[in-house]
């Protein structure tokens, strides 16, 4: 028999938990939901745009009644649960109806705090919390003129803005001299104050309300200083209080909220709680992003998978008032131990403040230009060491020497037909429509539905901006850690660590030890795991071809028509007539339709049928060629210029060194493709400064550069160090590659890896610590012993059958 789960509270946090639970264990529970409001589940955050007339109630529904029916969930709306009998595990509602439970989930939310002042119970004094409040405001706006909002916080300002748009004269009363003092400092508040006054709002700063006066209905407000103001409507938005009465009356331990542990379990092990009603490690919650993370954790435990922990993290805020761009996150005020980076341009109404502690970003306030909010937020959550980017970070991500398409300025201004994703031709309008129509919340969902940012990923920032601006700013749903894929909750870093710690030496063992949710994994995690195994246990691991993408399985690049391309290795890009003649003969023998010189100085033979591959490889092998690995997450090519042997400017033998580097590194598997170049002088004809590892020869030696990229995002290399001899250059190359192989996430190029871990990390491991460098290089050479086997010769001899059909039926 299925267990019974009862959810009290039909709001965003509770229902999100159910959604997550249904994904994990769809048949585990019979589910009943009690909700006080007579609706399905709606997006409470979007009440402000409803009040402002920018959205309708229908548009903000997340789960309509049909959803409950489709998922066999019994929804008891309009019923308030009044008692929980924990001994007999029964809840009773105000209409006398009862429901038994095996597990109980409390998501009772919060309620607005009403100031305990005379007159607060008069007609026309309301809060801003639910659809009924919005209805009251809209009705009042039709017949009355003067509105007063008490509280200049996020909610108060959104209410004030909405009422003003509905045609009322609105005054905002605020107790301090800083608006949104939970999110802003004084300079940002002053800029905003000026702008909101310009829009037509009146502000009474540093005013404390003493009483609300009126006969039946509110007529005016009186302040502590004795002054008065007329009012037909008063909206109190001075804060929220967790709803704990029900839990408390049932004897569940409560403080300010219902106290939960890291698994979202309350004092009673059968009872869980999520959302604004909870208190976790003495913190309570009012924004949506943490609630979603709680939902994830709680559902995991309700499904009895038992592996998730809730760790509260920094949150960010945006204000949903059209025309006001504001972003705030973390510790934006700072203290004696922090340093501030501040930018202020009053004429353009732009203010930015970044708070830094121990070389990490710990807080940010952005006003007027919030394009980089998501980026700063990511830096904060990742705890990135910012010492390298400190000089320029205040100006935003696209000022970091990235000449590719960095985030362009605000997507809000773009027309609907502006192309956001160039790979898949997806326009802004398509994305916005998909977000509202399908109720998408996360980047992954947008990827799945629209394909935007699903290919090369260079438009990810733009798509995130569209998500934020379409859903409202609170939807900064960037998880603090990203799971590898849907098969696990563990991140790449956690999986890599577990492989070593638990000594997991093959994929099936790993999947069972780390409780993979799927039998076989998927096309996303299997290749990653196969690589991690290979790089962690180079001498023991038996490669799993079925966990490799087709290109690496057949050592050739699949093309759009299902044929393949073949690229023989040409060391350092130096060839000769004999080799060229052999390639020409082989191309004719197999009727190769296209022969093309590649960007990496190799020759690409395109349009080869799969069954011809082994024969062609055998012929290439006979002519002395090995695989060029143009298909692999591996060392690709070492590009060179002619150097001192011929060039009148050349300072060193760049071709010779390039060939040595290629002979040393070929055949190695890496997290993503890896490119090397060697230039003979600073004119840099081999373009070494956009390679993963680049060597620029100078008269006195060799300059070593790392982390360059010429692809999606052009990134110039970081200078690593300068050495005097070829031997040293090669040792650094091996050590750097090994560090990357051991530490980067699968499918992470050196450029984003270095940006993630910081150049300092690389320098201290490879440059400053000679012993470590030598050890890294040693490990690289050790793993190369097994790696430098030509796969072409091997497959042509041993695995020919893999390339032909099993049978022909005519």
């Amino acid at each position: 028999m299925r267990e019974k789960l009862v959810l009290i509270g039909n709001g965003m946090a509770g229902v999100r938990t159910l959604e997550e639970l249904l994904k994990l264990a769809p048949d585990k529970y019979d589910i009943t939901v009690f909700g006080e409001e007579p609706y399905g589940n709606y997006n409470r955050i979007m009440l402000s745009p409803v009040l402002a007339g920018e959205k309708t109630i229908d548009e903000i529904m997340i789960n309509d009644l049909q959803w409950y029916e489709d998922n066999n969930i019994k929804l008891l709306s309009g019923k308030k649960v009044t008692t929980i009998d924990r001994l007999n595990r029964v809840v009773t509602a105000d209409d006398g109806s009862t429901e038994n439970y095996d597990r109980l989930l409390l998501a009772t939310g919060s309620r607005p705090f009403m100031l305990p002042i005379p007159g607060s119970d008069l007609e026309g004094v309301i809060s801003f919390r639910d659809i009924a409040d919005v209805d009251t405001m809209l009705e009042t706006a039709k017949i009355h003129k003067k509105a007063v909002v008490i509280g200049g916080g996020l909610l108060g300002l959104e209410a004030a803005n909405g009422l003003m748009i509905q045609g009322m004269d609105v005054s905002v009363v605020h107790i301090s001299d800083v608006l949104m003092n939970q999110q802003l400092d004084k300079p940002a508040s002053d800029l905003m104050l000026e702008e909101l006054r310009g829009k037509g709002l009146t502000f009474l700063m540093e005013h404390q309300t003493e009483a609300i006066i009126g006969r039946d209905r509110v007529e005016k407000l009186r302040f502590k200083d004795g002054s008065e103001i007329d009012a037909d409507l008063v909206v109190m938005a001075v804060g929220i209080r967790p709803n704990i009465e029900l839990a408390s009356s049932a004897g569940i331990h409560c403080d300010r909220g219902i106290v939960v542990d890291d698994t979202m379990q309350t004092f009673d092990p059968r009872i869980y709680a999520v959302g604004e009603c909870v208190q976790h490690r003495s913190q309570t919650f009012g924004l949506v992003a943490p609630l979603f993370e709680q939902a994830k954790v709680c559902s995991n435990h309700l499904a009895q998978m038992g592996i998730a922990r809730y760790i509260s993290s920094v949150t960010s805020t945006k204000l949903k008032v059209t025309g006001i761009d504001l972003f705030s996150a973390g510790d934006f005020l700072g203290d004696d131990d922090t340093e501030d980076l501040v930018f202020k341009d009053a004429a353009r109404k732009v203010y930015k403040k970044l708070v830094i502690k121990d070389n990490q970003l710990v807080g940010a306030v952005l006003y007027g230009d919030t394009v980089d909010g998501a980026w700063y937020f990511q830096l904060m959550r990742d705890g990135t060491d910012i010492s390298d980017i400190r000089e320029n970070m205040l100006f935003g991500q696209h000022h970091l020497g990235d000449s590719g398409h960095g985030p362009s300025n605000s997507v809000d201004g773009l027309p609907d037909d502006a192309e956001i994703c160039g790979c898949n031709g997806v326009c802004k309008g398509d994305i916005v429509q998909a977000i509202s129509k399908h109720g998408l919340f996360t980047l992954d969902e947008v990827k799945a539905h629209t394909k935007a940012s699903a290919s090369c990923g260079s438009c990810t920032g733009l798509v995130e901006q569209l998500l934020a601006s379409t859903l409202g700013g609170d939807f900064n749903d960037t998880p603090s850690k990203k799971p590898m894929c849907g098969c696990t909750d563990l991140s790449h870093a956690e999986v890599r660590a577990a492989i070593i710690e638990k000594s997991l030496k093959n994929i099936p063992d790993l999947m069972s030890a780390l409780e993979w949710k799927t039998e076989d994994g998927c096309h996303s995690c299997r290749p990653a795991l196969n690589y991690y195994m290979l790089s962690s246990w180079p001498n023991e691991y038996q490669d799993d071809p079925q966990s490799r993408f087709i290109n690496e399985r057949v050592h050739a690049n699949i093309q759009k028509d299902g044929t393949y391309s073949v690229v023989p290795r040409i060391w350092g890009g130096v060839t000769n007539p004999r080799e060229l003649r052999a390639i020409a003969d082989i191309s004719e023998k197999y009727n190769v339709p296209t022969v093309k010189i590649t960007g990496g100085q190799r020759i690409d033979l395109l349009g080869i049928k799969k069954e011809d591959l082994p024969k062609m490889w055998a012929d290439l092998s006979d002519a002395g060629f090995v695989s060029g690995h143009a298909y692999g997450k591996s060392l690709r090519t070492v590009k060179t210029c002619v150097g001192s042997e011929w060039c009148r400017f050349g300072t060193q033998d760049s071709t010779g060194l390039g060939i040595k580097a290629e002979k040393m590194t070929w055949g190695s598997w890496t997290p993503h493709k890896f490119k090397i170049a060697v230039s003979g002088c600073p004119r840099n004809c081999a373009e070494a400064t956009i390679k993963d590892f680049g060597i620029v020869c100078v008269d006195s030696g060799y300059e070593l550069h790392v982390g360059g990229n010429g692809g999606i995002k052009v990134r110039a290399t970081d200078f690593l160090t300068k050495v005097a001899t070829e031997e040293e250059a090669l040792e650094y190359c091996a050590a750097f590659m090994q560090l990357y192989r051991e530490e980067a996430h699968y499918l992470e190029r050196t450029a984003p890896w270095i940006e993630r871990v910081g150049l300092k990390h690389v320098t201290s491991a490879v440059v400053d610590d000679e012993v470590n460098r030598k050890r890294l290089a040693e490990r690289f050479h050790e793993s190369q012993k097994n790696a430098q086997v030509d796969p072409w010769a091997e497959h042509a001899a041993k695995y020919k059958d893999n390339y032909i059909p099993i049978k022909q039926v005519v």
Binding site: D520, C522, R526, Q546, K807, V809, V810
Partner: protein
Amino acid sequence: MSWTEVGPLVDIPKKGSRVLVTAEGDVAVFRTSGDQIFALFDQCPHKKGPLSQGIVYDNRVACPLHNWVIDMNSGEATGPDEGCTRTFETKIENGTVFISL
């Protein structure tokens, strides 16, 4: 129903496939980790990618061209993608795979 012999089960790699060439085009014959056999017309409904070359997991295969994931049971694309590829009935008798073309 007429059955055509494909070949021995062991000739198809686990979590892999082999191609059967027919007059109407290639058919991909898959073997899952649990030794189930599925057969699909070897063309992804998206851009005709050869599904036989994809990564196989559970009852699904990911197309090698753009990672559409096809349910091998129904031939339908999964998730928000929409499209369907033809399926064929198969059976295993005494270690030999048969298909109904």
